[in-house]
Symmetry: C2
Subunit: 417 residues, 2 copies
């Protein structure tokens, strides 16, 4: 058995070589590989479901939670959804080669910025085996090589899905090292990926908070991720009460477990209808934790403590504070937001613009539910994740976020004076 560092080094070198070869591959070939991979996912159904059955069996033996088992499980319907998602990525427009901007200099040199792939991408993920197909499809579509490292509980399922993806590569004549799966569950392999500067260009963790935190803490390679989604909705004094109510309930309760779910509601002290707002949340099944002013609105409200303002519940619980104007709302958000998605609800356009300008988050919304924080809803197609970092890509990251650019200078013999 190879040492994890040596294993990752060799995989990284193979990935780099595959990446270099991908630069000479046409867009049509990359699409064809994904279409073929989707077909192999379908024709390989028996093998994939059998592999998943073995994973499920071990998981039950290890007494994993029902939620974990559900994330792990693949049936015919889920496999069809995985294959369809790969086909959908095959149909997205290729960002590579796109000219971002172009200028001609007085000396006749033409300067273009052209989109190119990022390079070798490392994906570290947990339980859900569909990430194997999704991540491989998105990274290949954008011309990158990928090293996948899935969770130990999904080893067999990941391997079976991975085999179908590689079969697609081979069928389309692409280098099979463009998609690699780390063949060990040794946690030291994750450490080796996180420190593989020069071999891996970027790491994208997909999974729970403890995984993301470990990756962010230990990585010496750039990381694209978000740790928390502590999203705020501020109801301004001039908010339309119907919109306010619909947006607050949707932002919190549509799905409570996603990163774009509202965790804190800020109500302006001059907003005329705070009572119906919190009661609608309570009636929808949400626990409301309020500050002193909010507590007076309804006896079912419980008292929030200091920790509530920094908590991502991912559950039907919301912290609610009353604030004195947009400046105090912005101050609260600056102190407690995770810079994911923050929302203002108001009919006052000038106030909305002020909020949009000052709220320092990856996504800032006016009169909309924070649950729209999703690459598909943004029209970007499938997303690889949402980034709360400030560098490179922010918010939903899809194909374009998996690219960078290079400068192309076209001359006719110019020399610099």
């Amino acid at each position: 058995m190879k040492k994890p560092e040596q294993l990752i080094t060799e995989m990284g070198q193979k990935a780099r070589a595959a990446f270099t070869r991908l630069a000479g591959v046409s867009d049509a070939q990359k699409s064809a590989a994904l279409v073929a991979a989707a077909r192999h996912l379908r024709t390989g159904q028996a093998a994939i479901l059998e592999a998943n059955r073995r994973d499920m069996e071990s998981a039950r033996d290890r007494e994993l939670s029902e939620a974990m088992l559900d994330r792990l499980m693949i049936d015919g319907e889920r496999l069809e959804a995985i294959a369809a998602a790969v086909e959908q990525v095959a149909g997205l427009p290729d960002p590579v080669g796109q000219v971002i901007d172009r200028s001609e200099r007085p000396n006749g040199l033409v300067m273009e910025r052209v989109r190119v792939p990022l390079g070798v991408i490392g994906i570290i993920y947990e339980s859900r085996p569909n990430v194997t197909a999704d991540a491989a499809a998105l990274t290949l579509r954008s011309g990158n090589a990928v090293i996948l490292r899935g969770g130990s509980e999904a080893t067999e399922s990941n391997r079976a899905i991975f085999d179908a993806m590689v079969a697609g590569l081979v069928e389309a004549g692409l280098p099979e090292d463009a998609i690699q799966l780390v063949p060990t569950t040794d946690r030291a392999a994750v450490g080796a990926m996180l420190t593989a500067s020069g071999l891996i260009d970027i790491i994208i963790p997909r999974g729970g908070k403890s995984l993301v935190k470990r990756v962010q803490d230990e990585a010496r390679v750039p990381v694209l991720a978000h740790l928390d989604g502590i999203c705020h909705t501020y109801i301004g004094k001039d908010a339309d009460p119907d919109k306010a109510l619909a947006i607050a309930v949707n932002a919190k309760m549509r799905r409570t477990g996603i990163c774009g779910a509202m965790e804190t509601l800020l109500i302006d002290q001059d907003y005329p209808a705070p009572g119906p707002l919190v009661r609608a949340l309570i009636d929808a099944g949400c626990e409301v934790r309020g500050d002193d002013a909010i507590l007076e609105l309804d006896e079912r409200i419980v008292s929030a403590d200091d920790k509530d303002w920094d908590t991502e519940y991912l559950a039907p619980i919301v912290s609610v504070a009353m604030v004195d104007g947009v400046d105090e709302a912005l101050k609260h958000i600056a102190e407690h937001s995770s810079h994911h998605t923050d929302v203002i609800v108001t009919e006052d356009t000038a106030m909305a613009e002020k909020f949009i300008q000052r709220a320092d988050s990856a996504i800032v919304m006016h009169n909309a539910s924070s649950q729209f924080a999703d690459g598909g809803e943004f029209g970007l197609g499938a997303e690889i994740g949402i980034s709360t970092g400030r560098m490179h890509a922010r918010g939903p990251v899809a194909l374009e976020g998996l690219t960078t650019y290079k400068w192309v200078v076209r001359g006719t013999g110019q020399v610099r004076p």
Copy 2:
């Protein structure tokens, strides 16, 4: 005396607060601050030159090299150039607020990506005191707060220039903590900056290779930099001999000490006039180190060893290899380039496009001298540096590279189904 970690933490917090305040400042105010700063640089000439005289005196006592002394020295003419550069940055268009793209979704939501500043930028630099003014001007112009850490040999000069910059801020009513100078030459302060995740968003080193290497090795904060400029020029078999000769001599000899200078010349084995090319370099005063095939061209050529292909000479020395076609040239470049700037000279457009597509460098040029690798030559205005990293910004980094974006979602009460 505060501990370096505490000092940097406090400076980082002040910078973050200033950055937040800058979000509410108009473009005109930022420009006005820089115009005022330029005036303070001029009216403060006596104090700045006196401070520089003291630095020069210490530097001579410490027997610094003539090259170091020259980099450190400020006279009236150089100070005027520093002030003029600050005014020039004041006149550049503000990237902040620019709408990168915009789309309307079927549900009526409008998605915009809007340029915003990066945040708090740390600049770590050596000897040249003009960096104090340049870096402060570029970071402020793009709406960022900056923490400057100059070299110990320029302490007094940096402080005097810094005072003028802050006087400009104060005069324009901007938060003075938007530009801060680390008040100690304790090297531990650099370490504290490099690990100040969450306080400093990006570090930009400006200086020699050992500084950049230390920053890249130790930083836990993203770094924008280049370590080497090992730039190649490949002369294809169909290159125009006049262009080839002019470009090769210019790329190597115009200025040998800059990162865009050619370090390796690759000549196609079917290029008809290799002799005149290397003789022109030798006649221009360049030492030519060749492989076996090149050695036969002229007896003044010396033999290259393995190290030469990975050496940034920054001197009138060039390594020259003969290669078999564009694929071998690309292979050599993939192995030895520092991904800064690589050039093809050819009249064969298809071959040029192949080279442009495959060469994985921040800047790829066709029929032009690599010495054009400079923000000013690219029409970007003053640059903060050149990046060979793949993330965020590549090649010359100017105002736009000091920004990121946020998503602005404009709705009319939409909730997600």
